[in-house]
């Protein structure tokens, strides 16, 4: 009997001793970003257009009061976000209703598991209300809380803006270089800015390098974190090369206390899964910046309950409630945060032009 016990125990022990068998592993639906971004047929990339888009991006001339530029909320030094829960808007006292998402890698929005995407059908904003970078650019330009201001109607503001930009000789030349036509239109403005944004990508994070075969690109703790991230089920929504399924989910994040009206997202309190890339530069988190740190975010996911007055537990996304943040794996949070930092890539263009064609001070 004793011998039998010893043999049984030894067998059990050595069953688990082989190398991890790749054939028995499920395929995880996360992966590296491609090195290049596709552009829509109607807006091909060229160097002159990138430079024009870059200058327009930093130029406050695009706002009605000449004080707000795209870079006001999407600052290169803050990972093309602004570090605020809700961004400062058109003028003092006006705040945007939501947190400014990073525009790093926004050009990859909608990329699927195989790394394929259609740049003309690429979901934008926290509620997926725009379908391309070009369409997204139009949003802040014509928003009363951001660049247009409350005093203009869209119909009045568009020709006003086009005239303001066309009045600057350097811009006329730049538009000619980019489009072989010096006419300024709001469509061309958005196309140029979208083209610049297509250069703001970070496809060489430690995770990307690790997946492509560099075993030393991630630390031991980050590799453990990758496993913990998958085991906890985070990749069920944070999937694909952008770590987002680009779907809308109801999580019941607490409302921002300063908002007069509840932000209902798509109308049902659902918001899009955000990318997990470059999180170190883009705090605070969630659509309204209500969670200040990654630790706060992980604690929110551990609680797995609605913290919004108007969202009941039964409304919450099933994948959210099914997260496996086990109370026995106390260290899992630290490892997952370490892994999330492996999705940072500081090698993006952080330069700011010395001046812009309007001559306005950079903001």
């Amino acid at each position: 009997m004793n011998r039998l016990s010893i043999i049984s125990l030894t067998t059990i022990l050595f069953q688990g001793c082989q190398e991890v068998n790749l054939d028995s592993l499920g395929e995880f639906d996360i992966g590296p970003l491609p090195q290049e971004v596709p552009a829509p047929q109607e807006n091909p990339i060229n160097e002159a257009k990138i430079e024009l888009g870059r200058l327009l991006f930093f130029d406050p001339i695009l706002s009605a009061n000449n004080k707000v530029s795209c870079a006001s909320c999407h600052s290169p030094s803050k990972g093309f976000s602004d570090g605020l829960d809700r961004s400062d808007g058109f003028s003092k006292g006006i705040k945007t209703p939501r947190n400014a998402p990073t525009i790093l890698n926004a050009a990859f929005n909608g990329i699927n598991l195989l790394g394929e995407m259609d740049p003309s059908n690429s979901p934008m904003f926290y509620d997926n209300r725009a379908n391309s970078l070009e369409e997204q650019c139009m949003g802040p330009l014509l928003s009363s809380k951001e660049m247009k201001g409350p005093e203009w109607t869209e119909e009045e503001y568009i020709p006003f803006l086009e005239q303001k930009v066309a009045a600057i000789r350097e811009y006329r030349q730049l538009f000619y270089g980019a489009f072989e036509d010096s006419t300024v239109s709001i469509l061309k403005i958005t196309q140029a800015i979208a083209t610049y944004e297509r250069t703001l990508i970070t496809p060489n994070s430690p995770f990307d390098q690790f997946v492509k075969g560099d075993q030393h690109a991630m630390t031991d703790q980050q590799i453990r974190g990758l496993e913990a991230f998958i085991s906890a089920g985070c990749n069920r929504c944070h999937s694909g090369p952008m770590f987002s399924d680009y779907k809308l989910h109801i999580l019941g994040v607490d409302e921002h206390p300063d908002l007069a009206n509840f932000d209902k997202g798509d109308g049902n309190y659902a918001f899009r899964t955000t990318t997990l890339r470059n999180l170190s530069y883009t705090a605070p988190y969630m659509h309204n910046g209500q969670l200040k740190t990654l630790e706060d975010v992980l604690r929110f996911y551990e609680r797995k309950r609605s913290e919004h007055k108007d969202v009941s537990s039964s409304d919450l996304a099933g994948k959210f409630k099914d997260l496996k943040m086990s109370p026995f794996n106390l260290s899992r949070k630290d490892e997952i945060i370490a892994f999330l930092k492996a999705l940072d890539d500081p090698n993006f263009d952080q330069t700011v032009p010395d001046s812009v064609p309007s001559g306005l001070p950079l903001r």
């Binding site: 688990g16 590799i223 974190g225 085991s231 794996n329």
Partner: protein, 176 residues
Amino acid sequence: MKTHLNYLITLLTCCSITGILAQELRLSFSSGLPIAGEHNATYDGVHSLGFNYRRPMNELWVMLLDAAYTHAPYNSNFRLAGGQLLSGVRYLPRAKKMAFYFLLGIEYSKENYAFKFMQHEVHGSFENSNLLLKGGTDFPLFKDPRIHPFVEIIPGKRTMIGFSLSHSLPKKQSNE
């Protein structure tokens, strides 16, 4: 597999030496639950199979030497295998059945991992040698085997609680 063979050979050598010198040799099987440290994030359970050499110093104190093969089989992406070598003392109060022991030693471990992503496969390993502290009690279940609740600490790597069952091998019977 080669690494595992190396562990086995080392373990068997240790066991042979201790077996020759042993006053009492026990075979033990233990299971533990990592409750903190890096391994807590990765492994739900760690098992080990080992030999425990005992040499009495006096009526109360016994010198211990432990050699064990340890592994964690339950994570589909990670596997841990390692060898432990520990020494320490065991104290059995007079007229009591429950003894206390404390061991200090090293664990050499290798963790193999593998991931399969979209169109990419990654596998690798990391190896570590760490100081290991272990303490616990032991008391008999009937006459033999004995059961040993324990706490095992590898600083930074894992804090683990668990229990072992040990059985005396029939070279020399324990005097307890």
